[in-house]
């Protein structure tokens, strides 16, 4: 039981964690609809850098339909897109000021750290 669950994980985890296509969008149900309807006008980077709840993503779709010429979406297509976005690009943890980003951090104390000057 346990080993078969692990075997299943081994199959599933690389596909979801490492499954980034060339355009950077996470490979998951709904990504084809996102490519067809969202990336037709703007870069996938506009999606990837943002975070939001299902409601927030739906608001953005309405806004793009009202203001920026996005065409009407069939309900099942819209649901697939919103579900995909909320699952893969959902809200981040809240903070008034987060720790500095990992790429801005100095190395942790090691056995032989060397000063830059």
């Amino acid at each position: 039981m346990r080993s078969s669950a692990l075997a299943l994980l081994a199959l599933v985890v690389p596909a979801t964690v490492c499954g980034l296509d060339g355009d950077g969008l996470a490979e998951d149900d709904g990504v084809t609809d996102v490519r067809n309807h969202c990336v037709a006008c703007h870069s996938p980077q506009l999606i990837i850098q943002n975070r939001g709840s299902a409601n927030r993503w739906r608001e953005l779709i309405r806004w793009m339909q009202a203001e920026h010429g996005l065409w009407p979406l069939r309900p099942q297509v819209e649901t697939a897109i919103v579900t995909y976005l909320a699952r893969n690009y959902g809200p981040d943890e809240r903070s008034r000021r987060k720790p500095l980003a990992p790429e801005l951090m100095p190395p942790l104390p090691g056995p032989t750290p060397r000063a830059s000057k």
Binding site: Q49, H68, D92, P113, K117
Partner: protein, 406 residues
């Protein structure tokens, strides 16, 4: 589809020019050119941007500069952030370029060639801060939609051109003038030719300030393509979106300009402060007219190791959209104690100012160097993220860099 096809054709032409195929050319961000061709570029070509810059979005292009690459007093073109709203003109024709001045509140509508602008108006060169209204957006919670700028959507090049005031006054500004609005040659992302990608402006009083410019050049060279070649507006200290690029028409309006990205939530914040995530109606939002007091630590570079117990020089820039910066203080203990820095005056109004200080890291361990600028009215940078707003503008929380003392 058509854009892809023409892009492929464009890359093919480039390959012919430099005599070699452009490997991975399809992955070049739109508006960027391969190094071999961009080397010689002034004028209608994009800059060869410093490789340290970070691309947040490739369509439309948004690129920001890490703090340590903003150390220059005068920001070089290769280190200046880019924020496009639409698709820039591919090959603007300077010889045929025209600037029209019109609008309800102009006495005489006129059109100028670039040569006429150069010949008829006094040349000026000024260092003016250009900062995106959304610089710092990435820190807002709940998240605000848009380019997730960290700290690098700012720069202070020396702009070469003429005063907008001189051109407007040559046409005559009526008493009923309220605002100016620009129209430019970049195309809306949807490709719809009837829509402006962006059409913003400033109040008439700001347009008539002597520092408000129509620029042909930057740092002694023609404007690079992505920075508005052959003609742009520059309003130092106002949200960058007011400094229209590829400008073809300026309307003197008898009302607040109502062009693309003037209304709704664009470049507006709640007139009265709201709580994070609170719903606010569009009519309760006010236009941002000046960027708040702010500073950057450009040395040391975040992530560096330094020796403890020896002086560590700290330096950077400070600026304020509405006035000058009165003082800068630095802290190495998370804002518990502040040490005054030496602050230089600006070279001209709306230029950033340089500061320098020395700190000593007393023990081994993790430190953050913080800088806090205070403007002439006593307003200092907050240490946490300031007032939440739906689009995440005006984050002027003090800059932090991380250092380990060994």
């Amino acid at each position: 589809m058509a854009e892809h096809a023409s892009r492929r054709a464009f890359l093919k032409r480039l390959a012919a020019l430099i005599g070699a195929p452009i490997v991975f050319g399809e992955f070049l961000p739109a508006g960027m050119l391969p190094v071999a061709l961009a080397k010689a570029s002034t004028g209608p070509y994009p800059t060869e941007k410093d490789r340290g810059l970070v691309t947040l979005n490739d369509r439309p292009l948004s690129v920001e500069t890490p703090a340590h690459l903003l150390d220059d007093r005068v920001t070089p073109a290769e280190r200046l952030f880019v924020r496009n709203n639409g698709t820039p003109p591919l090959k603007p024709d300077a010889a045929g370029w025209r600037l029209a001045i019109d609008g309800e509140a102009v006495r005489e509508s006129r059109t100028f060639s670039l040569t006429e602008l150069r010949d008829q108006f006094e040349p000026v060169s000024q260092q003016l801060v250009l900062e995106c209204g959304g610089n710092g957006r990435h820190e807002f919670q709940p998240p605000a939609t848009g380019n997730q700028w960290t700290i690098g959507a700012v720069g202070c090049p020396a702009w070469d051109g003429i005063r907008l005031r001189d051109v407007l006054q040559a046409c005559g500004v009526r008493e009923n003038a309220v605002y100016i609005g620009f129209h430019a040659a970049d195309r809306h992302l949807s490709g719809d030719p009837r829509r402006d990608a962006i059409s913003r402006g400033v109040p008439i009083a700001r347009a008539l300030e002597p520092e408000s410019m129509l620029a042909f050049g930057m740092n002694g060279h023609p404007l690079p393509l992505e920075h508005g070649y052959p003609l742009r507006l520059v309003f130092g200290g106002a949200p960058g979106s007011t400094s229209g690029k590829w400008v073809q028409r300026i309307s003197v309006r008898d009302r607040v300009h109502d062009g693309a990205k003037m209304g709704g939530q664009s470049y507006r914040v709640p007139c009265k402060p709201i709580s994070p995530g609170e719903v606010v109606e569009d009519d309760a939002l006010c236009i941002i007219e000046a960027m708040p007091v702010k500073s950057l630590v450009t040395r040391p570079q975040s992530g560096t190791l330094y020796k403890r117990a020896v002086p560590l020089p700290v330096r950077g820039h400070a600026w304020c959209g509405a006035s000058a910066v009165a003082r800068v203080d630095v802290s190495i203990d998370f804002g518990q104690r502040w040490h005054p820095a030496i602050l230089e005056p600006p070279v001209n109004r709306h230029a950033w100012q340089q500061y320098a200080a020395e700190v000593t890291l007393p023990t081994e361990g993790y430190y953050e160097v913080w800088a806090r600028a205070t403007d002439g009215d006593g307003r200092a940078q907050p240490m946490v993220v300031p007032g939440w707003n739906p689009r995440g503008y005006l984050n002027n929380a003090c800059h932090r860099v991380a250092i380990r003392a060994i």
